[in-house]
């Protein structure tokens, strides 16, 4: 219950919980949350059962798109998303790293044909040890996720 005291409850919206400590700030930037008009409450370095510390983000009046869910999965695969209505959690799901990401990020290879043609970008996702690589279907180049997402 300690968390609840530190971070104000919201009536409707989304709570991203169990974000590995330090990733919260990246997610705020990645999803351009601060640029929007929604009220956002964040908690960094909160005590956590799973990790020693976690970050937490609450966004009012906002559900996450598939696009945003993929980005979340890439940067905080252990996070959970709680959908809140009338102060209650009505839906709760864990992030899953997708096998492929289509039409979201552009290819970082400036000579890739996908940048100048009417096609959706398409990356297959490969996990090795601790890193996640995205491989462009067109130019066949692999990039680490930070490069593709531009963070």
């Amino acid at each position: 219950m300690a968390n609840k005291l530190m971070v104000e409850a919201i009536r409707t919206g989304t709570v991203i919980d169990h974000i590995p400590s330090g990733q919260g700030i990246k997610i705020l930037k990645q999803l351009h949350l601060i640029e929007g008009k929604q009220k956002i409450t964040v908690g960094f370095n909160l005590p956590s059962k799973n990790f020693s510390f976690k970050d937490l983000i609450k966004v009012e009046n906002r559900l996450f798109s598939e696009h945003e869910a993929y980005q979340l999965a890439l940067f905080a695969p252990s996070a959970t998303i709680n959908v809140i209505e009338d102060y209650k959690v009505i839906d709760k799901f864990k992030m899953v790293i997708p096998d492929a990401i289509e039409g979201i990020f552009s290819c970082p290879n400036s000579n890739c044909i996908s940048l100048t043609e009417p096609v959706k970008s398409y990356f297959s996702v490969k996990q090795t040890n601790n890193a996640i690589f995205l491989k462009c279907k067109y130019c066949e180049k692999s990039f680490n996720k930070e490069i593709v997402a531009g963070v």
């Binding site: 044909i113 067109y138 180049k141």
Partner: protein, 310 residues
Amino acid sequence: MSNPLFQQHIISISDLTRAQLELIITTAEQLKHAAKHDALKNKVIASCFFEPSTRTRLSFETAIQRLGGTVIGFDSGTNTSLGKKGETLSDSIRIISSYADAVIIRHPKEGAARLASEFSSVPIINGGDGSNQHPTQTLLDLFSIYECQQRLDNLNIAFVGDLKYGRTVHSLAQALSLFNCQFQFLSPSALAMPDYILAELNERHVNFQTCNNFEEIIPQADIIYMTRVQKERFDETEYQHIAAKYILGKAQLTNPKSNMKILHPLPRVDEIDVAVDETRYAYYFEQAKNGVYAREALLSLVLNQSLVKG
């Protein structure tokens, strides 16, 4: 016999299975020794070179002519109005593929062939897309290795020169990793084999070593695959120093195996001394000639459901 390559796009060497590679190679061998073939009779093949590559184009066009096919197309980006009027590659390919039975595409941008395959109603053959793939080069390399060694399995293949930027080296190593070969790598450290290729080789449990000089390589090699170290990658004095170490001359050829052959994707500058040409080990001119047969094999498989008898 029906074949799995019929009406398939040929975009990347990594799309092809071992069995498909073997089928192309044995077909190339048959075609090389056959008197006359008309496997491409009544077929129109578009040869679309958005950037010039004279050898590749002539090799493809020779293959088409020799099998009785007809070529349409263009030989460089400056020589076509496509693109200049703002048309996308996808639209160009939609239209060209409605004229032809297959389209060969060479393009300066990576991924152009894969993209073309998504908009084409007929098979696309990748003739090289930027720094990405050049699968027919790899097919002719494999065919040449098979031809001079009579097998592709369990060979010692030494790769020498620019292993970092040389896409022919990457594709060939990937393809040969399906055949239980061992690799030796000899290159300036700045031009070493990229990590992602080494990771792939490790994943496939391929045995490879990095070597320091020709003496470590020559006695055990079945194939020495030479590539050019480009001057532009180094300053003048550094280049002189480096180049000397990776030039293969007659003097380096001490104690080779009797079956050893030297390959090179050509053109060479000075990385193989001309004195090597007259030795029994030189195989690079035969290899270049094999480009026609490898491309004949590929085109006839892609455009014929059953193989035509010689």
